[in-house]
Symmetry: C2
């Protein structure tokens, strides 16, 4: 089992280090190799996703990814910015299925912006298509407008698109995930305005006929953004496109109040996957030893379950994380009066101890 | 002063009727004419935006719009569905500037999903560009994919686009609105992925140099969806494109917990405008006399201020609405223990009384 470790920027290295310790404590045989990515890679070799890093990721069974990005790279040309590494990895590895759980941990319910009764027990799984839509559609660029409101003026444009097989495969992923949960899928679209998402709705509906045991609802993206605030527990599995998924998965994770706890997985059709925390690189607290490593540790658990076929090891990690929460240990992002504030490394050590 | 009244579907007729009564009580001289729109127009004449309705709207100084839509029209071909009337009016009247306030009324703070301290006193103004972006961009449709992941397969596509003058004019609207408020604009984009929104960011930044008294920040749309949940009061004026504005304005209005109170305005460059409540047609409660008419009444106030140059009349209406809230009157959507539950008509009557 080969794992590529890509720590990245900001708090990435600190949180990844703790997850690696946890993996090493499992008595499983992994080959782990580390490579720079994002701003760190740009500094080392002039590109956010150097060929050697990409090759390592492609040759691995799974990638454990920290986070990338820092304000200091904002002035670079777009192709050199840290986030291009994520987009490049998704594209090159064909990671079309992004799993973004939004779970509200019992002990952390109070940390949510929402009233506790609205989020207690929240457990949503957002499945975002990750290699299509307007993220990769061609053509795109700048040109002189030939029609529209101001013909002759400078304009910029992008292409949104989805093909039938792209929609079918992510729909299958969603229905199969729902079969293992409460058998309910909400497909989010904007079929009232976009050709792409009328097609999305049509194809998801067709695929749904192969899953008569799963209830399928459709919701417009604007309404979904509202209902997530109003009554988040109405949702179970949500499936949507790349752009809407970007927005809704972040909104949903923030509802929990503890984004520092939320892992994510991005898979291709060979179950090869990239695993990363849902939060960002937090350059403001980098290097201070205060970042929460739990989302990364839980991402490692998802990796064991989805890509490395080690469900028991995944369970062990998740149980250990619950145990440290129950012990009252909290990094600053999830701290509240009456609990024990710890740093990144102490939190990692506590998980290690709880594993045993 | 000519006002076109387009009541529409669902609760549209009931709530519009109350707003018309309020307008009539102002001792101003209006010419008001009513026409069907949406599903009601489709039933009457086979089209959601019949030529006579469009002409009435074009010839008027302002349009007071109720709401459109009903599940029963979901199976119609897209060009015949009720919401096409809104899109058609926006396009034909050139209503590029959409104002969507998200205000949390003091007496209704508890109705929010969010903890009261996060929303008490909330007052965000979202300015959404309304005639560009992927809503109207050409080409769009279905075709056989020639590239992408599955060449040869069926695909659907849309075109996102913005021209320089389109971005400039909405940016000016936003900066000028900010000058009358707390002099802070957040421009929301997705410049890290989309050519269109890198251009958006560049042009908004350029325009911002003409407003040195206004502070301009940029935020990615996914982060904005999160920050609205986490700390909504950090925002003041938010300016964004049509698609992101659709999602974020609905999210923001739901944060207040009282979307039944929120008006909206959509203006063109001659200050001609369409005014409508931020909520929908609510077919489930249509005809029961329980809908909240206040968002529509407040939309009429916005109309007086923005299109009809009657700011004192607008103030009078807004003061009257605050008075009825202070009296404890509540339609079911904003009712809570200790207040007095009233229906649509009683609420309208109460505003009339408070006007005098
Ligand atoms: C960094 C950015 C390109 C990326 C995206 O938009 O997909 C991020 O927001 C995410 O969700 O992983
Ligand atoms: C009905 C629909 C076309 C419309 C939109 O997407 O603009 C609506 O959601 C709105 O925000 O007014």
């Amino acid at each position: 089992m080969k794992i590529a470790i890509l720590p990245g920027d900001g708090i990435g290295p600190e949180i990844t280090a703790e997850a690696v310790k946890v993996l090493n404590a499992l008595d499983l045989k992994f080959e782990m190799e580390t490579a720079p990515v994002g701003g760190a890679a740009y500094e080392a070799s002039g590109h956010p996703l150097p060929p050697a890093t990409l090759k390592l990721a492609k040759d691995a069974d799974a990638v454990l990814f920290g986070a990338v990005g820092d304000w200091k790279y904002d002035t670079l040309d777009r192709p050199l910015r840290p986030e291009q590494a994520i987009l490049g990895l998704r594209k090159e590895l064909g990671l079309f299925a992004n799993f973004r759980p939004a779970i509200c941990y019992e002990q952390l319910t109070h940390a949510s912006s929402l009233k506790p009764e609205l989020v207690a027990g929240l457990d949503i799984l957002i499945i975002r298509e990750l290699t299509g839509d307007i993220y990769f559609g061609q053509p795109r660029g700048r040109r002189t407008a030939v029609d529209g409101h101001f013909p002759g003026s400078e304009e910029a444009f992008d292409t949104m698109r989805y093909s039938r097989p792209e929609i079918e495969r992510i729909a299958h992923v969603a229905f199969q995930a729902a079969q293992k949960r409460s058998k309910k899928v909400t497909s989010v679209d904007k079929a009232n305005v976009l050709e792409t998402f009328q097609f999305w709705k049509d194809v998801v509906t067709e695929v749904g006929q192969q899953y008569p045991d799963v209830q399928l609802d459709h919701m417009y993206v604007d309404n979904a953004a509202m209902q997530l605030v109003k009554e988040p527990k109405k949702f179970d599995v949500v499936v949507t496109g790349n752009m809407f998924g970007d927005i809704l998965s972040d909104e949903a994770s923030m509802l929990t109040g503890s984004i520092g706890m939320l892992p994510s997985a991005s898979l291709n059709d060979q179950k090869q996957g990239l695993y990363e925390p849902s939060h960002g690189s937090a350059p403001d607290i980098a290097g201070q030893g205060v970042a929460n490593p739990l989302a990364t540790i839980l991402s490692a658990a998802m990796m064991l379950r989805f890509s490395l076929n080690q469900p028991e090891a995944a369970d062990r990690i998740e149980t250990a994380v619950k145990a440290v929460l129950a012990q009252g240990l909290r990094t600053p992002d999830i701290y509240s009066a009456g609990t024990t504030k710890v740093g990144t490394r102490e939190m990692g050590e506590a998980v290690l101890k709880a594993l045993k």
